[in-house]
């Protein structure tokens, strides 16, 4: 068989078996039990919650992230093995949502770790969650879910952003564009 065909099969396999980390990062985790259990039954699609990041493929960031949690999220994300995917769940991961002016929650998840799929809403319905997984499967099939490659490629930038948030350091925060201009 050709390399391409192998790749295709491998993609089909990995899209049909998405194991997610059992990490309730925010209040969105409340809609996970219904999605996983008898009403919506995510296991139909081969989606299963796994205890540890080593075993998992998908990280469902369920809702707002306090900075303290972000540290754990980054730790867990880095412990997951490639290929790994992130789904940003709820408005809070997109722009802070309800907590746009909270001093302790980050506002845009994609600044800290690459996000493949976002689900809008507060909180999103189970159908939306399943839809997002189907979308992710579609993206894996087409080879578009490349968040994990992005994390490797722009590792320095992600690390810098994480550090800024972790340390709550106001003085070091400068828009990157200005830096670029100064250098050039």
């Amino acid at each position: 068989m050709k390399h391409e065909e192998w790749k295709k099969i491998s993609r089909i396999m990995s899209k049909r078996s998405l194991w997610m980390v059992h990490f309730c990062t925010g209040c969105g985790a409340m809609e996970m039990p219904p999605v996983m259990t008898s009403r919506y039954d995510m296991e139909r699609f081969g989606i299963f919650a796994m205890a540890t990041p080593r075993q998992a493929d998908v990280f469902l960031v369920t809702g707002y992230l306090a900075v303290k949690t972000l540290k754990r999220v980054v730790q867990v994300y880095e412990q997951m093995r490639d290929p790994k995917y992130v789904i940003g769940f709820g408005s809070c991961t997109i722009n802070g949502g309800m907590y746009w002016d909270s001093y302790n929650t980050i506002k845009d998840l994609s600044k800290y770790i690459p996000v493949d799929v976002y689900i809008a809403g507060c909180m999103p319905r189970p159908e939306a969650i399943i839809d997002s997984f189907l979308k992710l499967m579609d993206m894996i099939d087409k080879g578009e879910a490349i968040g994990w490659q992005k994390y490797r490629k722009y590792y320095d930038q992600y690390k810098r952003n994480q550090k800024m948030a972790f340390e709550y350091r106001l003085d070091e925060v400068k828009p990157i564009k200005e830096d670029d201009k100064n250098e050039s």
């Binding site: 309730c24 209040c27 409340m30 306090a66």
Partner: protein, 379 residues
């Protein structure tokens, strides 16, 4: 050389409810020390509420406790009503009762399923959460949302129940009542479950009140104390219901000295039956009329000023006493809103104390049977 090893139960761990962490030091099979680590969900609610006008805070408060958001709305509304001196319409009181009891039902289904799952009966959790979804459907019909309802407002409830609400609710209640014996067979009469739960995870009875234990956990320790009775709110003073407590466990056998995982679970099962009974009565007795006080109707979009003063309101949630301490200086925004979550004591000082000497296998079931919910600790 440290002989103990450290175990982290959470935040990324199946044995913890929500985003919190127990840091355990253990030797062999026994825990020697435990520390609860919280703050993973800290959003600074109380700070945000000081920045928002009184009405804007209603959508915020419900996010404090996810499994049972309505108690927050109710408690906050009651505190504001207290300061404003509003007396809410009779119909609104009944609707609040129905909503709060439905929330209790759904939270208890989750909690009982959680305890069963922590001990290994995943089937019970699957059934419980599946059945809970029917309640969420009704919430959706009534309020428009599955989880965050924002239905109970200062001055009453947001809008009246839909016309078919009564039939819908009764249908689900009938269904749930039919399911209860199945849960009993699967969980409460399961010999292996009894082996794991009887006499395990004991909160000392004589210390229970001093440690600030409330809710079903306190009743499992042998006190018939329920804020629905002690300080009736909504329509609870007009409704006939029982407060199950140890050793009056109804159909369930008394197998231990109480205050263990088994008794707490039994109390929750009994409370579900009572909730069904309360909702039935409330539906029957509910009068017609307004559901919102006129003052709020007129001013809701502009925000009212609340007279200066202190108010503390409490609601008996499925986990225990949910209290709101509201301070106003007479302005459009609160000066201080302080939330007392029941898990604040259950999750931190109670768990840290009773964990000492506990088997690591029993730790997670105990924490889940105390129904520790982290967001109401750190808010």
């Amino acid at each position: 050389m440290m002989k103990e090893y450290e175990l982290f139960i959470g935040p990324n761990h199946p044995g913890v409810t929500g985003n919190m962490s127990y840091h355990l030091w253990a030797e062999g099979d026994k825990i020697t020390r435990a520390e609860t680590r919280v703050g993973y969900l800290h959003r600074g609610f109380e700070k945000l509420m000081e920045k928002r006008i009184w009405m804007q805070n209603v959508p915020l408060v419900c996010r404090i406790c996810v499994p049972e958001p309505d108690v927050n709305e109710a408690a906050y509304s009651m505190a504001v009503e207290d300061l404003m001196g509003w007396e809410i319409p009779e119909r609104a009181k009944y609707i609040r009762t129905i909503i709060l009891e439905m929330a209790r039902l759904s939270a208890h289904l989750l909690a009982v399923g959680g305890v069963a799952a922590a001990l290994g009966i995943y089937t019970a959790a699957q059934w419980g959460i599946g059945d809970r979804d029917y309640l969420l459907d009704i919430f959706e019909q009534i309020t428009g949302a599955r989880v965050y309802h924002i239905y109970i407002w200062p001055g009453g409830v947001r809008w009246d129940l839909p016309k078919n609400a009564k039939e819908l609710i009764l249908k689900v209640l009938d269904y749930l009542e039919k399911r209860m014996p199945l849960y009993d067979d699967l969980i409460m009469h399961n010999k292996v479950f009894l082996r794991r739960s009887v006499g395990v995870g004991i909160v000392p009875k004589d210390k229970a009140i001093e440690w600030g234990v409330t809710g079903p956990n306190l009743r499992a320790a042998g006190y018939q104390l329920d804020f629905r009775r002690l300080e009736p709110y909504a329509a609870y003073d007009k409704i006939d219901f029982e407060v199950p407590y140890y050793p009056k466990l109804g159909d369930y056998e008394v197998l231990s000295d109480g205050s263990d995982i088994y008794t707490r679970t039994a109390i929750r099962m009994l409370e579900m039956q009572q909730s069904i009974r309360i909702i039935r009565q409330a539906l029957k007795d509910m009068p017609e009329g307004d559901v919102l006080v006129k003052e709020n109707k007129a001013n809701k979009w502009f925000g009212w000023k609340v007279p200066a003063g202190y108010a503390y309101s409490r609601v008996e949630s499925s986990k225990g006493e949910f209290g709101y301490f509201v301070v106003s200086d007479g302005g459009k925004k609160p000066v201080r809103v302080h939330v007392r979550g029941p898990s604040y004591t259950h999750g931190i000082n109670v768990m840290e104390t009773i964990a000492r000497g506990m088997n690591i296998a029993d730790f997670s079931p105990t924490a889940i049977s105390l129904d520790v919910c982290p967001p109401d600790i750190e808010r």
